[in-house]
């Protein structure tokens, strides 16, 4: 398992005397990791460019197909208490009962082997073709979340990223059930402009056989009463060419490169439209790999880099719950 997210230049903790933490409780370890995180630059300044990894090849494209081309709303999730993979069937039954109690509607819940949940409508409307339509899907995910796993004790199961597709009222009911049952906490996972730039750079850097979408950026200018959006679409090959020109370290993306990449886009835009995009707020990035919106919505397009995208999202989710 090659660790995509392994921060190579994590601030080295060994310089400080941590020895007295040998007997420390998990709680103190948590606090310690929060301290570490707060005291250094928040994100490791370099990451690997998503590669088609070994793990990726093992994944059956059919199995993950339902994850692609759908808009997912992201949530971060604190570790689940006393969760057990062997009880998924039971959970499904309980969750179903809970949903029925909440809604009194004919819905069925399926909890899949790999722990995704589907709500299937069973006769919402009389029309026949509506039968069995999937109303809502949600799945839990943790890709290379090692930094969190380190400090989580055995009573907890760590699935820091939750993705949901469907009506938010359903997310609310299911989330509530999870919160009550496993004493966890769901928070919406927003992606700030800084991380969007990273996504833009990393996804542009991915090698693609063919591009399915243009590379597009959306900036928002805060002004009332209606905010003004500026969209900037680039041919994906042009974006790749620009990236190649700023990219130096093979296989990696560094903070400088991300900044440079975005600065180039800004200056290009300024040359033509005399607008300083750096003064606005980046709200959406779409590439052929995936597209992400700042309010925590993501759509993954490319099967090949699925793991890479999820790993980065897991990292963001972990950062939020740390």
């Amino acid at each position: 398992m090659d660790s995509y997210s392994a921060p190579e230049s994590t601030p080295s903790a060994s310089s400080r005397p941590e020895d007295y933490f040998i007997g420390a409780t998990p709680l103190q370890k948590r606090l310690e990791s929060v301290r570490k995180q707060s005291s250094f630059i928040l994100t490791p300044p370099r990451r690997k460019i998503p590669q088609c990894s070994q793990l990726q090849e093992d994944v059956d494209p059919q199995k993950v197909a339902f994850l692609l081309h759908k808009q997912w709303t992201l949530y971060s999730l604190t570790p689940l208490y006393k969760f057990s993979y062997s009880n998924l069937k039971e959970y499904s039954r309980l969750l179903n009962a809970f949903i029925v109690a909440e809604k009194q509607k004919g819905l069925a819940v399926e909890v899949g082997e790999d722990f995704n949940i589907k709500i299937v409508s069973k006769s919402q409307l009389p029309s026949e073709n509506r039968e069995g339509k999937v109303l809502w899907t949600g799945w839990f995910c943790c890709v290379f979340g090692d930094s969190l796993l380190e400090t989580v004790s055995e009573d907890f199961t760590c699935l820091p990223l939750f993705l949901a597709n469907g009506a938010e009222s359903n997310t609310a009911i299911i989330g509530t059930w999870f919160q009550k049952t496993f004493d966890c906490y769901f928070s919406p996972l927003a992606i700030n402009a800084f991380n969007l730039s990273w996504m833009a750079a990393m996804w542009t850097a991915c090698k693609m056989d063919h591009y399915v979408a243009t590379t597009e950026f959306l900036w928002s200018v805060p002004c009332s009463p209606q905010s003004l959006d500026i969209s900037f679409a680039i041919h994906p090959e042009d974006a790749k060419a620009l990236w190649d020109s700023v990219h130096k370290t093979p296989g990696e993306v560094t903070q400088e490169e991300v900044d440079l990449f975005m600065d180039c886009l800004y200056s290009h835009f300024h040359r033509h439209f005399k607008i300083h995009l750096s003064a606005t707020r980046l709200v959406r990035v779409s590439t052929s790999v995936a597209s992400a919106h700042t309010d925590g919505k993501i759509k993954i397009l490319c099967h090949k880099y699925l793991i890479g995208v999820l790993a980065y999202l897991t990292e963001l989710a972990i950062f939020q719950i740390e």
């Binding site: 103190q28 301290r35 707060s38 928070s187 707020r281």
Partner: protein, 756 residues
């Protein structure tokens, strides 16, 4: 304080008064209302809103009318009265109006429900009464039980019964307890026979059924009914619930998917139900606004409809047991042998059941329960603490209003939440790690205004830890705000740092005596801990010195600084910890030369305590003789003696600029002050001068000119007594301990114990 704050307070008051007005229908509120002074109050609050006045007056009248109406119904119809119908109609209208507007108190519901089902009035009246049985907040279980007992008497018609069951289903959630009602399970079940009632009774049973209610004979009865009446959705619902609880008893296969089991019996009361929910939620939150950016991501709880930030206390053991495969879930749900939290009422109960307590399903709920806080405090079960940690960390982050633009409308809620946390911390006398982590993240973004008091209190509850580790995360950010904010902010920060110091000291003094030092979480040695505390004190010293310069030696600020040092000077004796840290010169001399007597008095007291502590330390060292690592360096003693010499030189011996503060005599001559030597003693010191004058005037009120220099010899001692009688206790203690009296006080009558 600032006018801004005052305005806020007034608003807050208004809000609470408005809030309470929505609960006016409760009986207690009535009684208060009848007090004339109180009603005046109410109209005062209504001033900014002239309409409000009328509304209040209306409410008042309405309630009187309601009372009359209830009284009328209670008495029953008066046969002879001619206006019978009119009066009845009027009273019914009153009840209906109030019920739909504000809901009825549980006492009123009790009375009216009784009337509706007892058949005193006609069917139409009963129906109307039943339809408006809308609670203000809750319905008491007793009322329901009483009402059900009327059903047995057979005084009410079938339609009234139906309506009653529909009402019961709709209001089920607002009944305060359900144990008694559950005891009537058999009665309700028997009512299934009645075809008209059957659907509604089914629905009620569906809500009421517990595992122990599922009995073979009931299953048989239900199956019989189904055979007789066909596949009725309501029967199926009940059967499937039975099957869920007791799969073994029901072999019939039931269709899994079903659209809607029950006809919506709430529809009569739909709007009313919403209103009750709103009321129960407390003062209604501001209407939700449409949010655009991600910066406005709304905390989930508001989207997810939970009523408050802190989860409701619910014991639930099934998550624990689900790990064991052999146990079926329904078994877990009805597990016996453990003590359910809902029954936990008293501390002795907690003690008796502490070994078999069911923990809440959501650990966050302990925050509202002092008994469970006790439990949390003594339990050293890591998962319990971690669950609480995760919950509190995330909730703080989600709720924190300055993380999100435009989220300030929820400020009050966040403030209340912080208050709850702080109450819990005070109760436990212990800070939460989550709060510390939250401070790390949020302090750099804090504006220094929002929730200031709460935020600074959180600072004072930071659990003891290594100062040098916490400093860059917390104190450096706090310092930036400190230096750029008003003097009041500076004082509040110093106040909270004083409390922080106190909390750390208490914790350490407990920790040392409770368990071996090696167990202490963050520092291996006592020396390390002391080092951390001393760094905190030095840090505050640095803050104070700079603040004094920035605020040009403000007396108010100096009071807060000296308050801090009042804690510092007594560490050795009060907390039995081997630490004495003196104040920096910038503070000492500012206090010594202050124009304010109380400052000087406080300084004297602190010097006196320092002396006591150092003497005690010296004595212990001599006794132990062993060279421990906590012997104070001679530097501390020297420093103290230096301060002492200065003080005695100024206040007592009138040799101010010799040993302590040294100023070149040539420079002093250049100032042209003739008698500078006297000018800082207890008589001439600017802060004492007024005392000297009043003393002399008291001595000889006739004197037209006073000569303060005449205070010498015997008069000097009288003068001192006079000063002491004016409440300058610090000065008294200082002089008693640091100055040896001889017959000629103004001579070198001191022995300031220079040789420690």
């Amino acid at each position: 304080m600032s006018p801004q704050k005052r305005v806020k307070n007034v608003q807050a008051q208004n809000r609470t008064s408005q809030g309470s007005s929505s609960f006016q229908t409760t009986l207690s509120a009535w009684k208060v209302k009848q007090d004339p002074s109180n009603s005046k109050n109410i109209s005062k609050h209504g001033q900014n809103n002239p309409v409000g006045d009328y509304e209040h007056a209306d409410d008042q009248a309405e309630e009187d009318a309601l009372q009359m109406a209830v009284g009328y119904f209670e008495k029953g119809p008066i046969k002879a009265s001619q206006n019978k119908d009119k009066t009845l109609e009027k009273h019914l209208k009153t009840v209906e109006n109030v019920a739909w507007k504000n809901g009825l108190a549980s006492e009123e519901i009790d009375i009216l429900l009784n009337i509706a089902l007892s058949g005193k009035f006609g069917n139409a009246v009963n129906t109307r009464i039943l339809k408006c049985m809308i609670p203000a907040t809750v319905i008491s279980e007793d009322s329901v039980v009483k009402a059900v007992s009327w059903l047995c008497v057979g005084k009410c018609s079938g339609s009234t019964k139906v309506l009653f069951y529909r009402w019961l289903v709709a209001m089920f959630d607002f009944i305060d307890r359900k144990e008694q009602i559950n005891l009537l399970y058999g009665f309700f079940f028997a009512s299934l026979q009645d075809d008209a009632l059957c659907p509604y009774v089914c629905h009620l049973l569906y809500l009421l059924t517990k595992k122990e209610n599922v009995k073979p004979f009931r299953v048989r009865k239900l199956l019989d009914l189904q055979a007789k009446m066909g596949m009725q959705p309501h029967l199926q619902a009940l059967l499937s619930l039975y099957k869920f609880f007791a799969p073994a008893l029901i072999s019939v296969s039931l269709p899994v998917r079903k659209k809607i089991y029950f006809k919506n019996s709430e529809n009569l009361w739909k709007t009313a139900l919403l209103a009750v929910k709103q009321r129960n939620r407390g003062p209604s939150p501001e209407p939700l606004k449409l949010m655009l950016g991600p910066a406005n991501v709304r905390p989930l709880k508001r989207k997810w409809n939970s009523l408050s930030v802190i989860p409701v206390l619910n014991s639930s053991s099934y998550t624990k047991e689900c790990g064991k495969k052999e146990m079926s879930l329904s078994d877990c749900l009805n597990r016996s042998g453990s003590f359910p939290l809902e029954q936990l009422q008293s501390f002795p109960q907690l003690l008796q059941n502490i070994h078999c307590l069911e923990l809440p399903s959501q650990m966050g709920s302990v925050l509202n329960n002092s008994l469970l806080l006790h439990y949390i405090n003594c339990v050293r079960d890591e998962p319990v603490l971690l669950r609480f940690y995760y919950w509190l960390s995330q909730t703080l982050q989600e709720e924190c209003i300055w993380y999100k633009v435009n989220n300030y409308e929820h400020g009050k809620e966040f403030t209340n939440f912080l208050d709850t946390i702080i109450r819990a911390e005070c109760f436990l006398q212990e800070g939460f790690y989550s709060c510390e982590a939250f401070l790390y993240k949020s302090l750099p973004l804090w504006d220094g205004l929002c929730c200031r008091s709460q935020f600074l209190q959180l600072v004072s509850w930071i659990p003891f830890s290594s100062f040098s580790e916490v400093k860059p995360l917390l104190f450096d950010h706090l310092a930036q705000l400190f230096f750029t904010s008003t003097i009041y902010f500076k004082c509040s920060v110093l106040q909270s740092l004083k409390e922080l110091l106190q909390n750390w000291l208490l914790w350490l003094s407990m920790d040392i005596h409770m368990k071996p030092v090696t167990n202490s979480p963050l520092e291996t040695t006592l020396g390390g801990s002391m080092n951390s505390v001393s760094k905190l004190i030095h840090y505050v010293g640095w803050l104070s010195t700079t603040a004094m310069r920035l605020e040009s030696n403000n007396t108010f600020l100096l009071h807060f600084i000296l308050d801090f040092y009042e804690k510092v000077c007594d560490i050795y004796i009060n907390y039995n910890l081997p630490l004495v840290v003196l104040f920096p010169p910038g503070i000492f001399y500012s206090a010594l030369l202050s124009l304010d007597t109380s400052i000087l008095n406080q300084l004297c007291f602190i010097m006196h305590r320092y002396r006591k502590n150092l003497t005690a330390a010296k004595k212990n060292e001599l006794v132990q003789k062993t060279k421990s690592e906590f012997n104070f360096s001679s530097k501390t003693y020297q420093e103290f003696n230096h301060y002492l010499t200065s003080m005695v030189g100024c206040l007592w011996t009138s040799k101010p600029f010799g040993k302590g503060i040294y100023i070149d005599p040539e420079i002093l001559e250049k100032t042209g002050v003739a008698e500078y030597k006297n000018s800082l003693n207890v008589v001439h010191h600017p802060s004492f001068l007024s005392y000297a004058v009043s003393f002399l005037l008291q001595e000889s009120p006739e004197e037209r000119t006073v000569n303060v220099s005449s205070i010498r010899g015997k008069k000097w001692s009288w003068y001192l007594d006079y000063l002491f009688s004016q409440g300058l206790q610090g000065l008294k203690l200082f002089i008693r301990s640091s100055v040896h009296h001889s017959s000629i006080p103004r001579a070198e009558g001191i022995n300031c114990n220079n040789q420690y």
